[in-house]
Symmetry: C2
Subunit: 104 residues, 2 copies
């Protein structure tokens, strides 16, 4: 049997990106500023991770104006949600495996 | 409420290191070659990740000879197990949070 961590996708698994995708799983879309605050990131750090997710086709990013104020809206794609679900499934396999052993 | 991914420790959360610590949670100690095979890694890749874990005080590494053959034995430390447990607890909080929303 292959180890469950072998099926983790590093694009999704990375801590900050896991946070982004988890928020987008809950909300479908979120503003850049909301993600930045909720995940405690700098602009540059969040931008970098969004670019990785965008390159993988897991999010779409739109710049728009609302009441003349610029907003950056991040929306998950179908394959982004799929990848997030696969991550959760792999983590659940890891948990299931650990249930058979006593830790400590 | 802070987002659960904020309490993930990147030293532990990183995919390969999560695999190493999860095996050591099951087995307490493991040979370098066992880890390499089970996690599908190269020598260099495994060494690099072990160094990160050793620097954090999460594993101890001993080189020894058994029947004149060299072996590298990796043992988890108490704080390594603690850090792994904290990772699992943070992931479980993430799961709990997602249980309140319908994905898809």
């Amino acid at each position: 049997m292959t180890h469950p961590t072998l099926s983790l996708d590093e694009v999704v698994h990375q801590r900050v990106r896991l946070g982004i995708l988890s928020i987008l799983a809950e909300e479908q879309q979120a503003d850049f500023s909301y993600l930045r605050t909720t995940l405690g990131l700098t602009d540059g750090n969040l931008s970098g991770h969004l670019r990785v997710l965008e390159d993988a086709g897991y999010v779409r990013i739109a710049k728009l104006f609302e009441n003349r104020r610029p907003r950056t809206r991040v929306t998950r794609t179908a394959s982004g949600l799929e990848a997030f679900d696969a991550e959760l499934a792999a983590l659940q396999k890891l948990f299931a495996r650990l249930d058979f052993v006593e830790l400590g």
